[in-house]
């Protein structure tokens, strides 16, 4: 860890968003706008079965009756849903079976992002599903995983190849009526990852999906479904970046996790969508619904997120603790710099007996950034012996940013124990000067202090991600003091 920190401090020299490049590749796009024909077109492009199309249309019809939610502490400009392109696919040979079939431009893009798709180049055992705009480009290590019965593929492939599993679990955690953005996603979702770990299997490598937006004026609506069958274990990582563009782009994803009896799922995100420029121009609008259900007894779902990107983040990875003795965890670091806004947190719904949840949220605000924690802890009447511990801390840099905390606690069982702790602090000039006086530059000092503050959460990330996340925290906050 110490070495990595050094490496990180050494490597980081400029505060520019370094993933802001655009790949020049032929992209197939459909006309902008949203109506039933567009949905039929998306479904046809993906060669989907009838039931999938029906699901989409049902969702679309419902969406038309819905209004955008206004309860978040966010200032969201009007989004014109008819101005968005809902499907964009880099042109390449259909269904690349081997790497040789993948467009070299695409390989280069992911190389540049630090995600080499050539399996032998991977340093450690991480299987990657690479998604660019609306399609999955390549999923690595599929064969190796298949030998253990693990299914790891793009969502589109899963619809074709594992329809029974998809039909059983799709929308079982986030119904198509759930909320404005989840419903929109259900209508127009493009690609994402599908993963199934069979009974009693511990997935031997980290599974990850890397999302990349490339095309302009395009929304990204990915859909991810993770199923851990009884006594299975998987650790899943998600990363995302986008080019720097002046216009805002919409990203509305849905992630569903199902943990059966005794299963454990660890889901980690490093979200680094383009945050917009220093004046708040451009950037991704990130409206995401992530939810997992601990369906069986003794199951566990753990969310870890490092949110440094996006102009607007609206995201509440949640756990429904239905199984007895099930455990839900949420560890979050959210950074808002310049004009970024984030309203993020979690919901822990205790249904089963002796269910436990832990929430650790660390907000960091700088520049004119606005950072809100919003969290619900709900203990239902039958959740005998439920236990929750929440800690939410806010760190402020400068005096023009804001930190807000909106905790909601609803307890219907008298045996429940719910704890909530909150702190707000400021990076002091005296802390920075103390570091300066030992020879550490101001930028490095901020990196050191912020990483110290976020350490509890960063430590929950898998190793490779932890290093990446530390770098990101530092880069996102450069230029925010002095």
């Amino acid at each position: 860890m110490e070495n990595d920190q050094d490496k990180l401090l050494g490597e980081v020299t400029s505060g520019e968003y370094k993933y802001g490049f655009v790949t020049d590749i032929d992209t197939e796009v459909i006309p902008k706008g949203l109506n039933e024909d567009v949905i039929r077109l998306i479904s046809a492009k993906k060669e989907e079965p009838e039931w999938m199309l029906e699901f989409r249309l049902k969702a679309f019809r419902h969406w038309q009756t819905m209004k955008m939610p206004k309860w978040a502490h966010l200032n969201v400009p009007e989004i014109d849903y008819q101005e968005i392109i809902y499907y964009a696919a880099p042109k390449q040979k259909k269904g690349p079976d081997s790497l040789g079939d993948v467009d070299p431009e695409l390989l280069k893009t992911f190389d540049k992002l630090g995600i080499p798709l050539e399996e032998q180049k991977r340093l450690t055992g991480v299987a990657v599903d690479a998604v660019m705009d609306s399609v999955s480009v390549k999923t690595t290590f599929r064969e190796t995983l298949a030998e253990m019965g693990i299914i790891f593929c793009s969502f589109s492939e899963a619809v074709k190849e594992h329809p029974t599993l998809v039909q059983k679990y799709l929308a079982s955690v986030v119904p198509y009526t759930d909320n404005f953005f989840a419903t929109l996603n259900s209508a127009v979702f493009s690609d994402g990852s599908f993963c199934y770990i069979p009974k009693g299997v511990r997935c031997p490598m980290e599974l990850s999906t890397y999302f990349r937006i490339n095309a302009s004026n395009t929304g990204q609506f990915e859909r991810t479904l993770l199923i851990a069958d009884e006594e299975a274990y998987v650790s899943y990582l998600e990363g995302c970046t986008a080019p720097m563009r002046d216009e805002n782009q919409l990203h509305a994803a849905v992630v569903e996790i199902v943990a059966e009896r005794g299963a454990e799922v660890k889901y980690s995100t490093v979200q680094n969508w383009y945050p917009g420029d220093k004046e708040g121009k451009g950037g991704i609008f990130n409206f995401v619904t992530k939810r997992g259900i601990c369906k069986g007894d003794d199951s566990k779902i753990s969310w870890t997120q490092v949110e440094t990107g996006s102009a607007i983040t609206w995201k509440y990875p949640s756990c429904i603790l239905r199984g007895n003795n099930s455990v839900g965890e949420f560890y979050s670091v959210a950074v808002t710099n310049n004009y970024q806004q984030a309203d993020t947190g979690t919901k822990m719904i205790h249904i089963g007996r002796n269910t436990k949840s832990t929430i650790v949220s660390k907000g960091i605000s700088a520049g004119f950034g606005q950072n809100s924690y919003r969290g619900l802890v709900k203990v239902l009447g039958k959740a005998e012996g439920a236990r929750n511990f929440s800690q939410c801390d806010s760190l402020l840099l400068g005096d023009k940013c804001g930190a807000h905390t909106f905790p909601y606690i609803e307890v219907d069982n008298p045996s429940a124990i719910v704890e909530h702790e909150a702190t707000t602090s400021r990076i002091g000039e005296d802390q920075i000067f103390y570091c300066n006086q030992r020879g550490i530059s101001t930028e490095d000092a901020i990196g050191l202090i912020v990483n110290g503050y976020a350490r509890e959460v960063i430590n929950k990330l898998p190793m490779e991600f932890a290093v990446e996340a530390q770098k990101l925290l530092q880069i996102s906050l450069e230029g925010s003091v002095g």
């Binding site: 802390q431 030992r438 110290g452």
Partner: protein, 265 residues
């Protein structure tokens, strides 16, 4: 001639919030010398430490400071640290979540980088840590914790001296290092300073009281009053001050108009 002095302060004037605190201060320090700067509260002692380390709260309005032949006032605080100026803080700062190991490693390697040296390897670094911990008699438990977090006043001061041992400065400024220390802690801290000093390490001890000077024996004692050095002498001057207080200095200073300079033989 110019490089004979490690530190040369000439006619230094500095203000805080437009109020002039230092009103024409002169001081010359050769390599290896120990200078004590004493004075009543509000005389400008802390401001001098701030100006030397580049803390922004003080604005230099006139005068020059030369460190090892270079213009110190042109340098950022971290450059000054890398050039070898170390401040033992009167009130050391807590940095939660940042381990002492990580903090020291970052500092040392930044300073090494400045000098064109490779970063220390992990094992060399840990060896150095262990060595210096023993030297300054600091408890291992302290260096395993976050920087100064939850340390007692005495532990914080010891930790400053430990950092000084690690960074091996050319000029150490000890700002009221004795405040808040009991006699045992004072002895450990002072002995630590003596042990880590190399023959060419210069030290400026800023203190209100004489007692630290029993352990760290100065070559020169200067009395700072109302932004100027009004009297300089040998170690015996500190004893006189201990005995007679500052009032006689104040009276004397208030009737004299000329600026005093370091009295060198």
């Amino acid at each position: 001639m110019q490089t004979e002095f490690l530190l040369q302060i000439k006619d230094l004037k500095a203000s805080i919030d437009n109020k002039e605190i230092l009103k024409g201060l002169n001081l010359e320090v050769k390599p290896g010398e120990i200078h004590a700067i004493m004075g009543p509260n509000g005389s400008g002692k802390s401001t001098l430490a701030n100006v030397l380390t580049g803390r922004e709260i003080a604005t230099v309005t006139a005068g020059t400071i030369t460190f090892d032949g270079k213009n110190l006032l042109d340098m950022s605080p971290e450059e000054r640290a890398c050039e070898g100026i170390f401040l033992s803080f009167q009130y050391p700062i807590e940095i939660p979540g940042v381990s002492m190991v990580n903090f020291m490693k970052t500092a040392i390697n930044e300073q090494r980088k400045h000098r064109g040296l490779e970063p220390l390897s992990a094992s060399d670094f840990l060896r150095l840590m262990r060595e210096k911990k023993e030297l300054v008699e600091i408890d291992s438990a302290l260096t395993n914790r976050s920087v100064n977090e939850g340390f007692s006043g005495g532990e914080k001061k010891k930790n400053e001296i430990f950092q000084m041992a690690m960074l091996e400065p050319r000029l150490a400024l000890l700002d009221e290092t004795d405040s808040g220390l009991d006699i045992d802690a004072l002895r450990i801290v002072a002995n630590g300073v003596n042990k880590i000093r190399r023959p060419d390490t210069s030290v400026i001890v800023i203190t209100h009281y004489q007692r630290l000077l029993d352990y760290i024996v100065p070559d020169f004692v200067h009395v700072l009053y109302d932004g100027r050095i009004v009297r300089s002498g040998g170690p015996e001057l500190a004893l006189t001050l201990e005995e007679r207080g500052y009032d006689w200095i104040k009276k004397e200073a208030d009737v004299t108009e000329e600026t005093w300079t370091t009295d060198r033989k």
